[in-house]
Symmetry: C2
Subunit: 153 residues, 2 copies
DNA sequence: TAATTATCTACTAAATATATAGACAATTTA
DNA sequence: TAAATTGTCTATATATTTAGTAGATAATTA
């Protein structure tokens, strides 16, 4: 298995977490997001545009402009970000729900053992990415203490 | 996400299921496995060699030779086949157990939200592929009736 | 010895990932 | 209105990976 999550997806997730940390009404510029996260600026341009076109971000041109979330971080699923930037999450097209396509070498799709196990994998991946939100990522990246730290002082 | 399971892995799984269906002591030749599964013969050569070197198959040269499983199908995990042919299953190197590698752009690996969620994804994938054996695949590809068909005649 | 079958090395072509360059459009502020 | 700023769009370039092919070599059997 080669890069399932490419740099594009990784950069996009890092950037949207960055934006989710902004105060309400605040915007961040691409150059700043790029620098703070070690992302090539021009590459990030295209990534943020994809996320904007997917409805997750809003943008504003000109001085004082920049990017911000278009909706609450808790309503943006990690799976949506990944699908917008990388396409379907299924390990193989014949196991995809959103972009199903039969293999040319496959005789009977209903009894294909590869498709069977890869469908299970697809569901397992979706179970994680569609039940984790950008807000969850913000919380994880902020919390440096172990879980249940609220029991401590 | 691009091809997580490439043709190499798909062909390898199909081939090992083919071999798992053989009678005990029987072997199959590469040309036959290739033809029956619509796999390019030369490509399959390299794939079976990898699986052999990983200890899952045994081979014999000359007339009457061929390939066979080196151990019971129920002891060969799908995850082992995939790892042998495609490398680590983690979606990103920083979330891999067997081939961990930090991202160059990552500041603090312990609080990286991308690594956190991708580690969950890795565990979810492993939960499937390391709990499914080649014997399971044989069973699935044979059973055409719905589950619990044993209640029917 | 001849036929068969796996094994090994090298190479090619196509697709994908990872950017970079530069013009253009919108907005703000002086 | 002019100038600076910032996002948007199109095109191009390079490196890596995938997917496969070609051909020689080694082992085994009949």
């Amino acid at each position: 298995m080669k890069p399932v999550l490419t740099n594009k997806g990784k950069y996009g997730l890092k950037a949207i977490v960055h934006l989710a940390r902004l105060e309400a009404g605040e915007t961040a510029q691409v150059a700043d997001v790029a620098q703070r996260n070690n992302i090539p600026k021009k590459f990030l341009d295209a990534i943020l545009l994809d996320l904007r076109n997917a409805g997750m971000l809003r943008s504003k041109k000109g001085p004082g402009g920049g990017y911000a979330l278009a909706k609450p971080a808790r309503s943006i699923k990690v799976g949506a970000v990944i699908r917008a930037l990388e396409g379907p999450i299924a390990p193989i097209a014949c196991a995809s729900r959103s972009a199903f396509r039969a293999c040319e070498d496959c005789g009977d799709i209903d009894t294909c053992p590869v498709r069977s196990v890869m469908s299970d994998v697809r569901d397992a991946i979706a179970g994680i990415v569609d039940n984790t939100t950008v807000a969850d990522l913000v919380q994880r990246s902020t919390a440096r203490a172990p879980l249940h730290a609220d029991y401590a002082i």
